[in-house]
């Protein structure tokens, strides 16, 4: 999806640049011709003819702007859920994987279930129990690792 949006944006920018260049060329050509005309006729310059651009340049500019907009809109990341239950369900269902950025890193403001602290309760952590559990886990892991070898 990204390459489509990027190529559309690039195409739009290209058209926009072309339109600008055309407008610039047109105004240069027009002013030199108008200057030569005015030097001959010594009359006041008709400003409206200088300001008006040919229709094709105007159309190209507008079309280019819309193409760029389309490309940028296509390239936006997926919208975040704004309903509580949808958002909460996404956390439960997808876990960390649901909140990855495009480059595979975890979103910076992802905190998982914010109410999980009410069950893990870091302020009341029983560190001795955790140490014991960890030591048991290591022992189990050791025995599980050695069993297949025997």
């Amino acid at each position: 999806m990204t390459w489509i949006s990027q190529s559309v944006t690039g195409l739009g920018l290209l058209f926009l640049a072309h339109a600008c260049y055309s407008a610039h060329e047109h105004s240069v050509l027009h002013s030199t011709s108008a200057a030569s005309v005015s030097s001959i006729a010594s009359q006041g310059i008709d400003t409206s003819t200088i300001a008006s651009l040919p229709l094709d340049i105007s159309i190209e500019t507008v079309a280019a702007v819309f193409t760029v907009c389309l490309g940028l809109v296509l390239g936006t990341p997926g919208l975040r859920p704004i309903q509580w239950r949808v958002w909460a369900g996404k956390i439960e269902r997808e876990g960390e994987k649901g909140f990855m950025n495009g480059d595979g890193t975890l979103d910076k403001d992802y905190i998982g279930n914010p109410f999980k602290v009410l069950e893990s309760r870091p302020g009341f952590v029983d560190i001795r129990k955790q140490r014991k559990e960890f030591a048991e886990w290591v022992r189990e892991g050791d025995s599980a690792a050695t069993i297949p070898k025997n």
Binding site: K108, R131, V138
Partner: protein, 324 residues
């Protein structure tokens, strides 16, 4: 991995904790240690972020858990350098460190005495008060812990963490009405916490299975709490599991259920038709979750493996009942 250092580490699996603590020396080497000193170099070094200090705190907890006391001490030292000795949170962390390295009960008793002397100097030191309660619990003195905790919630009634801890303590002592009350207080503070709704449903269910008097009322209430947790969170495995258990039991006990007497002011018991339909919904949803999670479908991999297995067993038991 640095992102999960920003999360409280106590619910992480041992494997993740080990990984975190093994990364500790590298993290400690890489992150700056002299942040916060007012030197001329602070003009061009990166500004310190709150995340850095959260990282230190969580790294220290993980290291203590895995027994890497050296790194834990280094974390503590840097935190003390930054925030000073008399920071309340650091006092609690230092106590935690001493608890973890304590060799025997005498050393723990000494830590407890230290907590008490800190609290007599400054009774409003909440982190240390919490540590003292946790240590009392760890020393197997639940009655004293409950007394201390009721004093703490009296002093700061908006502390959801303390209420939740109190509820767990009461439930561990079999005092369900008190535990339910404490959980209801938690829900007054955090009304949208779907896991706490499910937890209250579980405690109510336990209360309903434990005693006979008023078990119908507890069961109906538990059923409503599980419904609320599902309302707050789509595809919530724990909520659907509880809903299925509660509705199964409600259907079983329904024939004996008597109409409520006139004096009963509580909500009427749920309609049996509604209960049956919700039971079907819960069964369907649970089997969907189990199927998709076991099938490795994208976007369904966030569930806890043990929970999925438990749900599968519940469904299998149900199927066995039908075929019999």
């Amino acid at each position: 991995m640095s992102s999960s250092l920003l999360h409280p580490p106590s619910h992480l699996s041992p494997a993740v904790a080990l990984e975190l603590s093994q990364s500790a020396p590298a993290v400690l080497r890489n992150v700056p240690s002299t942040n916060g000193t007012y030197s001329i170099s602070s003009l061009w070094t990166a500004a310190e972020t709150p995340e850095l200090w959260i990282t230190y705190e969580h790294l220290m907890l993980s290291c203590l858990r895995t027994g890497d006391e050296e790194s834990a001490h280094l974390c503590l030292k840097r935190l003390t350098q930054r925030f000073g000795d008399d920071n309340t949170r650091l006092m609690a962390l230092r106590g935690l460190f001493q608890e973890a390295v304590a060799k025997d009960d005498a050393a723990l008793k000494q830590v407890l005495d230290e907590y008490e002397s800190i609290l007599t100097d400054d009774p409003s030191n909440i982190p240390v008060a919490k540590r003292r309660i946790a240590l009392l619990q760890s020393l197997n003195k639940p009655t004293e812990a409950i007394t201390a905790l009721t004093k703490l919630v009296d002093a700061s009634p908006t502390d959801a963490e303390a209420w939740a801890e109190l509820s767990d303590l009461y439930v561990s002592q079999g005092m369900y009405p008190q535990g339910i009350f404490a959980l209801e207080e938690v829900l007054l503070i955090t009304a949208n916490a779907w896991n706490m709704h499910a937890r209250l449903g579980e405690v109510l269910y336990m209360a309903a299975t434990a005693n006979d008097s008023g078990s119908e009322k507890y069961l109906a209430e538990s059923f409503r709490r599980f419904c609320r947790s599902i309302e707050l969170c789509d595809d919530y495995l724990r909520g659907y599991y509880g809903l299925k258990l509660a509705t199964d039991r409600l259907i079983e006990t329904a024939p004996q259920a008597s109409r409520p007497s006139k004096g009963d002011t509580g909500l009427p018991p749920p309609e049996i038709e509604t209960v049956k339909r919700l039971n079907e919904v819960a069964t369907a949803k649970l089997s969907e979750i189990v199927r998709k999670s076991a099938g490795g479908e994208a976007g369904w991999q966030g569930y806890d493996e043990a929970e999925v297995i438990a749900a599968k067993e519940l469904l299998n038991r149900d199927a066995a009942n039908i075929t019999r």
